[in-house]
Assembly symmetry: C2
Homo-oligomer: 139 residues x 2
């Protein structure tokens, strides 16, 4: 049975689920950032997915990119580049990061993973981000 790694519960907030993946907003106000976790028990690498699941994941990465753009726009900081990463060096359960980047963000042009300290969303911005993401993921 698929169970979400508890790490994700501590660092991200629930978004509407997609056909293959759980979608979560990373609780780091430095970047519009969605994490996709395929609901496939025991999956660690992309090769652990079926060919059909891989195609679904790719489609959901593109949708998450649209949602990340929507968050950036809603917060008045339109994103300039998408970054997609599947690492799993720390949390092994297969997951894909979709992150919106700007040249004025604190990690540009480097990667975001493991860099600096997450910034807490204020309540209003969190509400705006969650609503923009949900709207994009459900459309």
């Amino acid at each position: 049975m698929f169970e979400l790694d508890p790490t994700f519960l501590a660092t991200s907030s629930t978004l509407p689920a997609l056909a293959l993946c759980e979608a979560r907003l990373q609780l780091d106000a430095r970047f519009p950032w969605i994490v996709l976790i395929p609901r496939v028990e025991g999956a660690v690498e992309l090769e652990d997915l079926s060919v059909e699941e891989r195609a679904m994941l790719m489609a959901e990465i593109v949708v998450a990119g649209e949602a990340v753009r929507a968050i950036g726009a809603a917060l008045g900081r339109p994103i300039e580049k998408l970054n997609v990463g599947q690492l799993g060096n720390v949390t092994r359960q297969l997951h894909v990061h979709v992150v919106g980047r700007r040249q004025d963000d604190p990690c540009w042009p480097g990667p975001v993973w493991g860099q600096g300290t997450p910034l807490t969303y204020d309540d209003n911005a969190l509400e705006v981000a969650l609503a923009a993401a949900a709207n994009a993921l459900e459309s």
Copy 2:
């Protein structure tokens, strides 16, 4: 017309081309590392590919992962985790990194991009890595 960004020529070496992508060995002996560049003119983000091209790219990422594992095995350093990244903050032409990681590598568990200084392959190791990767990509 598709033309490879010259940056890739300076930092990586040609591997056998795949159906969608140019495949290149990143010239950094710290990690078995393949870069895939879809031959699609003007593509910057995954959304710039057709649905069919996205499925091809996903398949080629999995094949590149096998090739990265083959390089690690051939060099006596079997890889423990694959890392896949599509960033493009510096070189905008759409490309995907497939990197083999080990807990004893110099960047573990952080990402490799923009971290530390690339390590030159010695001639013999480079030959071994290129042959192992070519064999895996062509099988």
